[in-house]
């Protein structure tokens, strides 16, 4: 049996953390892009489009992320699409993230007074001009704090990718535990690293919230 020093454990975990960060970033960027498109779609007053977005949100918010990952990974390969654990993880995390962000952003857009839309309309601005010059600049300021706050959920969500075999922080933690039989030490370190990733994000989110409230 190979001996693992504390140094080995920590360096292996830190190396794996890179993949957790990368997966989080990919999921966040993917989720943000999809959510942007869906938000724009939802704002058009086409009721069929709105229903589809609503269904999408309900579907991905109403089922466990793990099931979504299983479906992406095992389901797609059964249908004949070979998909790597990495791609399946990114795909499912993107869907999951976007479903929540669409909902968060809708709330932010709805908090803007109806008068902003009306004043724009009375000045002759088109729908897209109103969105671009009036609604989005204000909504983004409101949305920043909850969006950054939600990124914490994305980081924690990446841990599930270990179950479909993607080697990231949690997976390496499990592997080290199997080799060392020191679950408390290993998983405490894993938890600590997650905390170190998430805590700055939630601090930043709180900071943004305060900043926004002061400037309002």
């Amino acid at each position: 049996m190979i001996q693992f020093s504390n140094y080995d454990i920590i360096s292996n975990l830190l190396f794996a953390t890179q993949w957790t960060i990368l997966l989080s970033l990919a999921a966040f960027v993917g989720g943000t892009s999809v959510a942007l498109a869906l938000t724009a779609a939802r704002l058009t007053r086409n009721s069929l489009v709105q229903k589809c977005v609503h269904l999408y949100v309900e579907l991905f918010q109403g089922t466990p992320l793990l099931m979504q990952m299983f479906l992406c990974f095992f389901g797609l390969s059964m249908l004949g699409y070979e998909i790597s654990a990495w791609s399946a993880a990114i795909l499912s995390l993107t869907l999951f993230t976007s479903a929540f962000l669409v909902e968060i952003w809708r709330g932010c857009i709805d908090t803007l007074p109806k008068g902003q839309w009306e004043a724009s309309r009375c000045l002759g601005l088109s729908f897209l001009q109103t969105l671009r010059f009036i609604i989005l600049p204000q909504a983004i300021r409101v949305a920043l704090a909850p969006t950054v706050g939600f990124s914490v959920q994305v980081v924690k969500g990446t841990a599930l990718a270990s179950i479909i075999g993607f080697v990231e922080l949690t997976k390496v933690g499990t592997m080290l535990n199997n080799a060392t039989f020191e679950p408390f030490k290993v998983f405490a370190l894993v938890a600590l690293i997650y905390f170190a990733l998430c805590y700055p994000l939630s601090l930043y989110s709180k900071h943004l919230e305060k900043k926004f409230h002061v400037s309002r």
């Binding site: 902003q116 309309r121 002759g124 309002r216």
Partner: protein
Amino acid sequence: MSLVNLHQVHKYYGDNHVLKGIDLDIQAGEVVSIIGKSGSGKSTLLRCINGLEEYQQGGITLDGKEVTTEDIQVRCLALSVGMIFQNFNLFPHMTVGENIMLAPTIVLKKSKAEAAAVAKAMLEKVGLAEKFDSYPEKLSGGQQQRVAIARALAMSPKVLLCDEITSALDPELVGEVLKVLEQLAQEGMTLILVTHEMNFARDVGNRVVFMHQGKVWEEGDSKQLLSSPQTDELKQFIGAVL
């Protein structure tokens, strides 16, 4: 030809029959005050005139052209109708200058320099030339409302619709806004205003329209109507507000 014409306009919110056959004819340069109890349909009437609300029967024409809520129509309408709201509705993320310049640049396609010149002139007119670079939140309510007026004026509208534009203001700030309106009236601007300021309606307005239960209950020359109302409802209303 009249500037604004309403012919037998009916408006429903679901089952709620809010406007019950409104006839109104307004000439260019007139200052028309719309008065009446809460819920009598004053705001709805104004919002139908500029296409913010749709109506179900009758017709509205502006400068001879029919008013509908079709997006493109409303945008053309915006070129001839300005609207001022009770709660200003300035864009809080833009400076006063940017608020006023936005529509002239992106709707009328004026150059930045041109739009800035117009914005400065309009601010001058409402007595706020020095506030060009301020943000709305730094201004008093009365100043914000005057900026909103300048913003509407920058589109050179033919008629200005005002919905209780002094109602959200502290009493001591009402005067400065009314003064701007009075000056506009003297310059020949057509004004249609929903107001509770009876003195203003009498002294500056040409005509008063009294709305009651979704109808034009009584209308006429402002001084005459307010000093000798014909219907009991108007008598009661005047008694209640004075």
